[in-house]
């Protein structure tokens, strides 16, 4: 590090399950250059100031989805948030909201993983094809229907943004519903009716009150709020039309 490096104060909400009853704030002074990310800031802390600080990270390029944290109260990917944006103020870091803290900046996301598994996130075709038959056809326009919703990196920022998930942990939540929607909208899939049952439930789309913050914080422009709320319309149609056309409208 060169001598003209600036120094920024980074405050981290620490929690060590084997020692602490509850989390507490600890402050660090970190030298940085303008192109350094918040992730690089916490890496500096771990390497040189306190080796016990724990956080997840890997790709450094906003695609693996592991480095999300609350940065001054806003859920963000720390690898694509830059220290300079906060200087000369200080930065406060906290584990993603609405999840149990395992240690320091690490959350327990097993609840989400269970939900992801529950939505049947795979193609269930009407008539399976053999490899010899080649690929299914899908026009660019059909692809476009799912492209945005299939670019979720499971970073959990939307869950940390959604107060309804915090209030009702059973709520399926933005990313899981979006993924469900992605498979429902895929022209290769034929299991919409099965998945609709999850959406129709109280814990499905009806857990959402359209706070909309999930879409604001999404680093990949997935727009989970749209995926959820369009399904309120679908679910409502399903509700009323099931009497007319059993197994739900479409």
């Amino acid at each position: 590090m060169t001598s003209n490096d600036k120094i920024i104060e980074i405050e981290v909400l620490r929690y060590r399950p084997e020692q602490d009853e509850k989390p507490f704030l600890q402050s660090f002074k970190v030298p940085f250059t303008d192109d350094q990310s918040v992730l690089q800031g916490v890496q500096y802390i771990k390497d040189y100031l306190d080796g016990s600080l724990s956080f997840r990270w890997s790709c450094r390029m906003a695609i693996c989805g592991s480095c999300g944290m609350m940065i001054n109260g806003v859920p963000k990917l720390s690898c694509k948030t830059f220290l300079r944006e906060y200087y000369p103020g200080k930065i406060t870091l906290e584990a993603l909201k609405h999840f149990p803290i395992e240690k320091d900046l690490i959350i327990d996301l097993s609840d989400f993983i269970n939900k992801l598994e529950s939505i049947k996130p795979y193609i269930i075709p009407a008539a399976p094809r053999t490899l010899e038959q080649g690929e299914y056809l899908q026009t660019p326009r059909q692809l476009d229907r799912i492209a945005q919703f299939s670019s979720c990196i499971n970073c959990m920022l939307c869950y940390a943004a959604c107060p309804q998930y915090g209030l009702k942990p059973d709520y399926l939540g933005p990313a899981a519903i979006t993924l469900l929607h992605r498979y429902n909208e895929d022209n290769r899939d034929a299991a919409k009716a099965e998945r609709m049952q999850l959406l129709n439930a109280h814990e499905g789309v009806w857990g959402c009150t359209l706070v909309g913050y999930c879409s604001d914080v999404c680093p990949k422009d997935v727009d989970p709020a749209a995926a959820i709320n369009r399904n309120k319309l679908n679910s409502t149609m399903d509700y009323f039309l099931r009497f007319v056309a059993p197994r739900g409208g479409n």
């Binding site: 107060p163 209030l167 129709n200 439930a201 814990e203 409502t236 009323f240």
Partner: protein, 117 residues
């Protein structure tokens, strides 16, 4: 399997109410609550004959029903959901009866009145 929610019933009414509120209420409040009372426009706008005349025709009846009942559903639904936001988690059935009951009453009463007028 998860149980189907009955939310679509109130949600559709809420949605319809929201649309009505967004497209009419600023103007209605302005006219009935501000412009006429303050005399910014002629009091004839809300004269008895005019309103009674409105409530006489089918279109007028429908209009009045829509601007009273649907906003009530919209309001009831939002307030009911907000209870949870503020941490009031018990007594769900009770509050359902109170709020949606009120909206239902606010639908049936004008219906009854309008049909009778």
């Amino acid at each position: 399997m998860s149980k189907r929610s009955n939310e679509p019933i109130v949600w559709s009414l809420f949605g319809a109410g929201g649309v009505v509120v967004a497209h009419t209420m600023p103007v209605l409040i302005f006219v009935t609550g501000i412009a006429v009372p303050l005399g910014l426009v002629s009091a004839d706008v809300l004269a008895y004959e005019r309103l009674a005349g409105l409530a006489d025709g089918w279109f007028g009846k429908l209009f009045l029903l829509v601007i009273i009942s649907l906003p009530l559903w919209q309001s009831a639904h939002r307030i009911f959901l907000s209870l949870h936001d503020f941490g009031i988690t018990g007594g769900e059935t009770f509050f359902r009866v109170v709020f949606y009951g009120a909206a239902l009453w606010g639908t049936l009463l004008p219906l009854f009145l309008l049909v009778g007028m």
